[in-house]
């Protein structure tokens, strides 16, 4: 175990918990199922983040996620895509623009 910190580490400011984990963004039916539009959710992959979110929000949320597209930082992602702290994971349910 290292006893001295490296320079960059000493400069890390104190942070809230939220900044250490992924930022989940929810829209439409996913937002409704979760009861909120955003949340902080831990996880190293998309699958892990969504599993943690499902544990928190329940079965209806899981059902919506199952048919949703997932983006990480604005780009389409897969279940095994890596998620770094502060990444934005967006759940995009089936869309219904127009009339």
């Amino acid at each position: 175990m290292r006893t001295s910190k490296c320079e960059s580490a000493t400069e890390v400011p104190s942070r809230s918990l939220g900044a250490d984990v992924a930022q989940l963004r929810l829209f439409g039916p996913a937002r409704e199922a979760a009861g909120r539009a955003s949340d902080d959710v831990d996880g190293a992959t998309v699958a892990a983040v969504l599993a943690a979110a499902t544990a928190r929000y329940g079965d209806y949320f899981a059902a919506v996620v199952a048919v949703s597209s997932i983006w990480v930082n604005g780009e389409a992602a897969e279940q095994n895509s890596p998620v770094d702290p502060q990444d934005e994971v967006t759940v995009l349910p089936p869309v219904s623009g127009g009339c």
Binding site: R25, F27, G28, P29, R31, E32, V67, S68, S69, G74, A76, T90, L92, P93, P94, V95, S96, G97, G98, C99
Partner: protein
């Protein structure tokens, strides 16, 4: 409403949309054809026949980005296209009101028709928008939602 730009006019707005303003904007001295699509809130949906309003939700930045991609593809596929406007309302839109307008001008009407239809087809498939149907006794997410696709190149 922002000042209308010259060639591409994208808007995602809680205000009512004026098809007239878009047609007038798209009309150019070099373009004989202006094709407009207006999507209006109708009483009948896939699940209800007493719809009173629709309520649209979006992420405005994502929606605008996708709509800009649609216009880029229009200009690639139909290069004679002059002006393209894509406006979508968000929030609550009442029965009979206009929720989306596409306006395309071109020297050639065939191109204007094709481009306008591409715009609305792709907007429905690829832009992050979610609508709730509202009727007297309740509301529900629209039953005709489809998994979001990428904007075709």
């Amino acid at each position: 409403m922002e000042l209308a730009p010259t060639q591409d006019w994208i808007d995602v707005t809680t205000s009512s949309i004026s098809p007239t303003a878009l047609i007038e904007w798209a009309t150019r001295p070099e373009c004989g054809a202006v094709v407009t699509f207006c999507g209006t809130v109708r009483r009948t949906s896939t699940t209800h026949d007493n719809v009173e309003a629709l309520e649209y939700e979006t992420d405005e930045a994502m929606a605008r980005q996708r709509m800009a991609q649609i216009v880029a593809t229009v200009r690639r596929r139909w290069p004679l296209t002059e002006a393209v406007a894509l406006h979508h309302r968000i929030g609550r839109v009442e029965l009979g009101e206009t929720a989306v307008v596409v306006a395309v001008s071109s020297p050639h009407r065939q191109e204007a028709f094709e481009a306008a239809q591409f715009c609305i087809d792709t907007l429905k498939a690829s832009v992050p928008l979610w609508k709730r149907e509202i009727w007297a006794e309740g509301s529900a997410w629209s039953g005709d939602a489809k998994a979001m696709t990428e904007v075709p190149k």
